[in-house]
């Protein structure tokens, strides 16, 4: 009984911690992105609210919360209301399996530094992250606006296209780690991160998560200058905020996964593992922001060509090569 209670408390505590950290990170990623983009464009970025604009996220939240919650005429009311939630929640859910540190022993118990350590963590990640597309699709469709619909159709096909390569790019990782558990995958990289062992898979994975997160250069579902914001055209106030937050949570989550799958997780010298983990995640997020400052948006046909004609064959080939090498090495 007490055992169960302890487990529940532990899980709740971890949840609260992760929830807090992830949301905090998401909020400040927004600010960081705006500041970094600004500096890269020789601007200051937000610098009015608080010192160096540090209170900007708070101001944004207050603003979003106090804005009118607008429901378009002829919109599908329930789906319209639910869709932003789907995006945010699925992003958060993925984080359940992400290990952010080595297992620790507390009161004689081995506690994984993740909400749960599923032995099929990779599959869970793939499955849940696929759900995220529902937020985009349902939100766009329910708005009853041609821009939203176009955005959601784009989002749907984009995500479906890249989901495949995403999954296939992880196969070599699983082959090398011989486990579906994320914890095991991290452990397998104790000496050398998979980035160095299998850079091709890492590259494919990076491109795919860029596409998954709908960020530049793959932000076709939003495409402000073509589709007026795409699937979230009709959203305002906190519902828009949820989409927005969901996108940045996703950024953190995908950064974490990148860290877990290819950057060796929490492994690193001198510093505590959690700090290493955080540093790596922030580096990935920083890369994303940097890319946003540099690359233009792809054209739709280029996007599809890249997904189906380049990434898919490359990841398939990579599996073959990885398998052959593993076989050759007799591992």
């Amino acid at each position: 009984m007490a055992d169960t209670l302890f487990t529940v408390v532990l899980i709740l505590a971890k949840l609260a911690l992760i929830f807090g950290v992830v949301l905090f990170m998401a909020a400040y990623l927004v600010l960081a992105e705006r500041k970094i983009l600004g500096r890269m464009q020789l601007r200051y970025g937000p610098n009015r609210v608080g010192p160096f604009g540090l209170m900007q996220p708070l101001a944004d939240v207050i603003k979003l919360l106090t804005k009118e919650d607008f429901l378009p005429a002829r919109a599908d009311k329930w789906l319209f209301l639910v869709a932003p939630g789907i995006t945010a929640v699925t992003a958060l859910l993925v984080f359940a399996v992400v290990p952010f540190g080595p297992t620790i022993e507390v009161f004689g118990r081995t506690i994984p530094a993740a909400v749960v350590d599923l032995n099929v963590g990779v599959l869970y990640f793939l499955g849940v992250s696929s759900m995220a597309v529902y937020g985009v699709v349902l939100g766009g469709w329910a708005s009853c606006s041609k821009y939203s619909l176009l955005g959601s159709v784009r989002g749907l096909s984009q995500m479906v296209s890249y989901e495949l390569s995403l999954g296939l790019s992880l196969v070599p990782v699983i082959m090398m780690a011989r486990s579906f558990s994320l914890h095991d995958i991290v452990m397998a990289q104790a000496s050398v991160p998979f980035l160095l062992l299998n850079p091709v898979a890492c590259f494919v994975f990076l491109i795919c998560i860029l596409a998954e997160s709908n960020r530049i250069p793959f932000d076709l579902p939003e495409a402000e200058n073509e589709l007026v914001g795409g699937f979230h055209t009709e959203y305002s106030g906190m519902r828009f905020g949820l989409f927005f937050v969901g996108e940045y949570i996703n950024l953190v989550v995908l950064g974490s996964l990148m860290t877990v799958f290819f950057l060796g997780g929490w492994h690193g010298p001198w510093l505590p593992p959690v700090v290493w983990f955080l540093i790596k995640v922030l580096m990935v997020c920083g890369l994303f922001i940097w890319i946003r400052a540099c690359l233009p948006r792809l054209r739709y046909d280029q996007l599809m060509n890249l997904g189906w004609k380049v990434l898919l064959p490359v990841s398939l080939l990579n599996i073959l090569v990885t398998g052959a090498v593993l076989l050759g090495l007799g591992l």
């Binding site: 970094i36 500096r39 890269m40 020789l42 601007r43 200051y44 940097w290 400052a293 540099c294």
Partner: protein, 178 residues
């Protein structure tokens, strides 16, 4: 495959370098309310109605500015003074609509409507941005100190008919001499 593989790769990577370099440069942004910029001479902002060198209103209410205005923010009513001068009975510019494109000043044949550099027009009451003639009319010639439209028109307003420069005296139509 493209024949310019290396150029393309370079083109893809170069922005990363540019942005990275920019990250450590000083931003060019002017922090507006605290710092003010020196505006260029031809800056286009709030419109005024000027007077001719003789002190008369230049505006003849010809409606050309309102016709040129792409946002229809100018309206007026012409009327006639006792000396035959055409002028605006009322003249209204709705600065909530104005986009400061300056097309009205291009269209103005009398150089009456001119732009100034006063751009700080924001306010909370839109009606306060609807300027009437009394708000627009200034006491100077603006950027042209010599032009007086009525000296060029051939109709007798500022001078009797035919006594403006470049005009002959009105002819006597009943004169039998050729």
């Amino acid at each position: 495959m493209s024949r310019h593989v290396f150029r393309d790769i370079r083109g893809t990577l170069q922005p990363f370098w540019v942005t990275l370099r920019n990250l450590f440069r000083k931003p060019v942004t002017v922090q507006y309310p605290e710092q003010k910029q020196q505006l260029p001479e031809r800056y286009r902002a709030r419109l005024i109605l000027t007077r001719d060198p003789d002190g008369g209103e230049r505006c003849v209410a010809c409606h050309l500015c309102s016709a040129a205005c792409p946002v229809d923010c100018i309206s007026m009513q012409a009327t006639e003074a006792a000396d035959g001068r055409r002028y605006a009975a009322w003249f209204r510019i709705n600065f909530t609509r104005c986009i400061f494109c300056g097309l009205c000043t291009e269209a103005c044949p009398t150089k009456a409507i001119q732009v100034t550099a006063d751009f700080e027009l924001a306010g909370r009451d839109p009606l306060k941005l609807v300027y009437e003639k009394v708000d627009l009319l200034v006491d100077h010639c603006g950027n042209d100190n010599s032009y007086n439209f009525y000296h060029q028109t051939g109709i007798g307003v500022t001078a009797p008919r035919g006594e403006n420069p470049q005009e002959t005296k009105p002819m006597d139509v009943k004169d039998l001499m050729p």
